[in-house]
């Protein structure tokens, strides 16, 4: 391996920066790209309830997702890939994980 290296400095244009939020959500294809998965896999996530879309949102192409959905999708992807769990089980694990974190946070507040 060569130890050669190159450097570049890039000023990121303000138009290229976007905080993912309700106002600026990800569409289903963008969520799929961000997780390195297919659109079909995103549809399975919705079916398992790991990410939620309003019932009246129409076809997958019209779905919108926030930062929390991206986080959940990435965690589900790891559970599926590394532990071989199906998405229904991943949904339960993620729910339990959230509840553990919520209770731990509440305990921390109580114990002060």
């Amino acid at each position: 391996m060569s130890n050669s290296y190159t450097r570049a400095t890039v000023f990121v244009d303000a138009d290229a920066i976007c905080a993912i939020s309700e106002d600026q959500p990800l569409v289903a294809q963008e969520l799929a790209y961000a997780c390195g998965v297919t659109l079909e896999w995103v549809a399975q996530l919705v079916e398992a309830g790991i990410v939620e879309v309003p019932a009246a949102s129409g076809p997958p192409q019209a779905w919108c997702f926030g930062s929390g959905d991206l986080q959940s999708a990435l965690e589900a992807r790891r559970l599926e890939r590394d532990f071989g769990v199906d998405l229904q089980a991943a949904a339960l694990i993620l729910d339990l994980q959230r509840e553990v974190r919520r209770l731990k946070a509440a305990l921390q507040v109580q114990s002060r």
């Binding site: 290229a16 920066i17 976007c18 998965v37 930062s67 992807r77 532990f83």
Partner: protein, 327 residues
């Protein structure tokens, strides 16, 4: 920087099968998962285990890693002249860049070590030189830690990213790039900031991927952070707690805010300052947890004042214990 022995991290032999890698990972992941582990260093161990698993479970990465390990063992390619340690490129500790390949679950890379991000940051650019291959560039993930104040007001940050790329001659080399990014005001923990077109380059004329930065909020000397809410301990005197008072507290978004302490306030009372926590939809709140601080009885005057209070206000806080005292 130390060369990381991923086999040792997972407690397996170099020739371990895929199944052995998987089993070892699952066992250790259960032991060190930060949500359930009692181990003090669970978070670090989990990060190391995830990192080792991510490399060893992937044939392409494992082959590259093994070649690198052999080079280090020989004191040759990739090794330093002294002691056989792994030789990072100049400017090594600036940051990281992470590679996301389709179907390979990516973003956990945001927690991996410098070693990992250097060696596997961008992979082998497979397909880049192959004729008609067309594909959108892959997305990248990294994490950025900012202060509470920066989350509220926005901040410009330089993010140093590093990747291993293969040039047209097939020679691997490091590429360091620094992105100057304005993190928008009002981001909250767990939110992702997307930098469009700053992921992997596209192939065959297709667009580049995006870079996702996951926002993390650094620990703060005054505030404890719970989601979008901030918690602060507010010390008050016994007089303020007993009689009520107006006190000033720092406002997370700047300046001070006046707070009414209600009369007969007890220690641990929680006061909520609506929507003065971290921004978001909905915005977080600022919670003040009252802590009654006793004036020290270290002068004659102070001791006398405590005695006068005791005489003027007979008070037994242990009455509910059912023990008659002083009889």
């Amino acid at each position: 920087m130390e060369f990381k022995d991923y086999y040792a991290t997972l407690g397996i032999e170099r020739g371990a099968s895929d199944e052995e890698v998987r089993k070892a990972y699952r066992k250790l992941a259960r032991k060190y998962h930060p949500d359930v582990s009692k181990e003090a260093d669970a978070q670090t161990r989990m990060r190391d285990i995830n990192e080792a698993n991510d490399v060893l479970r992937d044939k392409e990465k494992r082959t590259a890693y093994d070649a690198l390990a052999d080079g280090v063992a020989r004191g040759g390619a990739g090794a330093s002249g002294q002691g056989g340690g792994f030789q990072p490129p100049p400017g090594w500790d600036e940051g990281f860049e992470f590679h996301n390949r389709a179907g390979q679950g990516p973003a956990d890379h945001a927690q991996f070590s410098d070693f990992f991000s250097s060696v596997f940051g961008k992979g082998a650019q497979r397909g880049a030189a192959s004729g008609n291959y067309r594909a959108r560039g892959e997305d990248h993930h990294a994490a950025i830690e900012i202060s509470v104040e920066d989350a509220i007001h926005g901040v410009q940050r330089d993010i140093a990213l590093r990747a291993l790329e293969t040039d047209a001659q097939g020679q691997p080399h490091f590429v360091n790039r620094t992105l100057t990014v304005k993190i928008p005001a009002g981001v909250h923990p767990g939110q992702f900031v997307r930098l469009t077109g700053h992921g992997m380059p596209g192939h065959g004329g297709e667009p580049a991927g995006d870079l996702y930065l996951e926002v993390r909020i650094a620990p703060h000397k005054l505030y404890r952070i719970e989601g979008n809410d901030l918690y602060m301990t507010l010390p008050v005197t016994p007089t303020e707690a007993a009689l009520g008072a107006q006190v000033q507290v720092p406002n997370p978004s700047g300046g001070v805010v006046e707070v009414s302490i209600p009369p007969s306030a007890r220690s641990g009372l929680k006061l909520r300052l609506k929507e003065r926590g971290l921004p978001g939809k909905p915005p977080g709140h600022l919670y003040l947890l009252l802590d009654i601080a006793l004036p020290p009885a270290d002068t004659e005057a102070a001791r006398k004042a405590y005695e006068q209070l005791a005489q003027a206000v007979p008070f037994n806080p242990r009455r509910h214990l059912g023990v008659e005292e002083g009889v």
